[in-house]
């Protein structure tokens, strides 16, 4: 089965005054129909940039997609210009996106109704009236009370969680094949987080949409994602089924991430949370070898001498980019 979307060797660089930032440097991933996939990594590791690159939403300059392929429906999306007709007909209609900041992602001077119905009017050729009707239906589905009257409201009259619900309604309004949720729950409080995630799972199930959740929170993907990609410093360092990642992590970074997530039923005496030492690397002028090296507990001579390892299969769908085979996991 060919995946719905497959990104191959994607490279997105930023030209800054301090030097070239290789935010995404040879990233490959794919998503199948109706699948829920997680992309995990620390802030600044390039996960958002990868997703924005898929839809060519990178502001250029300073950003530039310098290489790779984005295969969707048998064509490479990167052959089209960002502002081209083809990209406009895919964005919102076939691949939709939800962003991190619910407070700033909606236009403050336009009504919720305007922002909700415009993509339906464009992609589905709906009349304003039928789009408004569907808009009310969508708002009701995402759990906004009094949906009919809320169409005339402005974003500042909504709370952060409500705005994110509106964003979900907008994103799903045209029945997209894929929904990319870029840190959808980072900026809202914990109870709202859980509700939003439930809602998204529910909605993609209802609309038969594939979902890509981008997050720095392993807890988020643990519950919902079927497959997981772990990203570090512009590279995918480990990928596999959710069980592979959680039960049999191979990359030192993944192991480190899991060690700083508290597990249910464990007391403090049994196991301490261990933070990963050090700070994420500065992406400017990085050395050729593994970027995790300065923070790694398992570093060896090979790591120091050889360039960044490529992803190698370690059984099933499980891939790891590491020279070491780590036996004695903590």
């Amino acid at each position: 089965m060919t995946p719905l979307l497959s990104v191959e060797n994607l490279k997105t660089y930023f030209h800054t005054y301090r030097g070239l930032v290789k935010a995404v440097d040879g990233v490959s991933f794919s998503i199948n129909e109706k699948e829920i996939v997680g992309l995990v990594g620390e802030s600044g590791c390039g996960k958002s940039v990868s997703m924005l690159s898929v839809l060519q939403l990178i502001s250029s300059p300073p950003g530039e997609i310098v290489g790779g392929r984005v295969m969707f429906e048998d064509q490479d999306l990167l052959q089209y210009k960002s502002k081209s007709e083809v990209m406009n007909s895919i964005r919102g209609a076939k691949i939709a996106m939800i962003f991190q900041e619910p407070m700033t992602s909606l236009n403050p001077v336009l009504t919720i109704g305007r922002q909700l119905t415009e993509s339906m009017e464009i992609h589905l050729n709906m009349t304003p009236r039928s789009a408004a009707e569907r808009g009310i239906e969508l708002l009701r589905l995402v759990g906004i009370p009094d949906a009919k009257n809320r169409l005339a409201a402005y974003p500042h009259q909504f709370s952060g969680g409500m705005r994110q619900r509106v964003m979900i309604a907008i994103a799903l309004s045209c029945n997209p094949k894929i929904l990319i949720a870029d840190e959808p729950t980072t900026a809202v409080d914990v109870t709202t987080q859980a509700q939003l995630l439930e809602l998204m799972q529910d909605m993609v199930d209802r609309f038969k949409t594939a979902l890509m959740i981008v997050t720095h929170n392993l807890g988020v993907v643990a519950r919902y994602a079927e497959r997981i990609y772990v990203m570090y410093a512009g590279h995918i360092v480990e990928s596999g089924l959710a069980d592979d990642i959680f039960l049999d992590p191979r990359h030192p970074y993944t192991i480190g991430l899991l060690n700083c997530v508290p597990k249910l039923g464990e007391t403090r005496q049994e196991k301490k949370l261990v933070p990963i030492k050090g700070l994420p690397p500065n992406l400017i002028n990085m050395p050729a070898n593994c970027a995790f090296l300065p923070r790694c507990d398992y570093v060896c001579d090979t790591c120091r001498q050889k360039p960044w390892p490529s992803l190698e299969p370690v059984g099933g769908q499980h891939y790891v980019a590491c020279y070491r085979e780590i036996k004695d996991k903590p």
């Binding site: 924005l52 406009n88 939709a96 909606l106 236009n107 336009l110 305007r114 415009e118 500042h156 009259q157």
Partner: protein, 308 residues
Amino acid sequence: MGVIVIFVVTVMVFLFIRLLPGDPLTIYLNKTDIQQLTDEQLQELRVKFGLEKTLPMQYIDWMGGLFTGDFGQSIYYDIDVGILVRERMPVTLYLGGLAFIISGALGISFGVICALKRGTWIDTVVTLLANIGVTMPSFWVGIILIYLISVKAGWLPVGGYISPFENLWESTRRVIMPVTCLSLFSIASLTRLTRSSMLEVIQQDYIRTAWSKGLKERLIVTRHTIKNALIPVVTVIGVQVAFIFGGSVLIESVFNINGIGRLATQAVQNQDYLVVQAITLIMAIMVVISNLVVDISYGWLDPRIRYD
């Protein structure tokens, strides 16, 4: 709010005149007259002009006069200041109004075009022209226009003013150059402001959201960008009105136009204080009123203010 500001404006203008070094009678009489008068006569005049009262009482008297259109007597023209100003006012308002509309329309359009064509030669050229435009003294531009267009080419008359109701064609021919000078600075500064405001809005998250919905660039600009970008531009409209009024003082002198700007200059030269006072007051109040209009139009642009 506006009422309070107008009150402060009147108090300031009142105090400016009253804080004049020496006797306020010098406003009505020149120095030799005062020396010739006896103390009793001076006292009589003080009572007549209400100068023996306390400052707040004098202010109330003065304001009462203003409401009935009594700005006092011009010592130079020897007629009522109100009549003098009313006679000269329409000219300045006509030129200023034209300049205001033109600068708003052109400045905002140029700014939007520059922002959309960022980095192209159009942007570079228009931005450079705008940067030069805000540095050119308007009176100097007027002189150069007269030199090139009237004197060298002979296309337009050197100056003067004819009412558009009298002869629209001749009026327009005379109005082109002064209005150009009056609006030049505003066009240039609005271009700069609109451009930078547009560029800031274009970087906002909600514009990225609009792109992610697959909207066409034209729609993103017209529906999602311009309204937001105009919010800071509208804030400076009051400043532009003040600037155009200030410019009229210079431009009416250059082009020999008998508006209140020229009247103000002549009044300063003739030490005709009450005329200067009246003109300053009227212009300031008109600026306050345009600021009020701006505040109201804000609500239309920005729903966050409408609902507060």
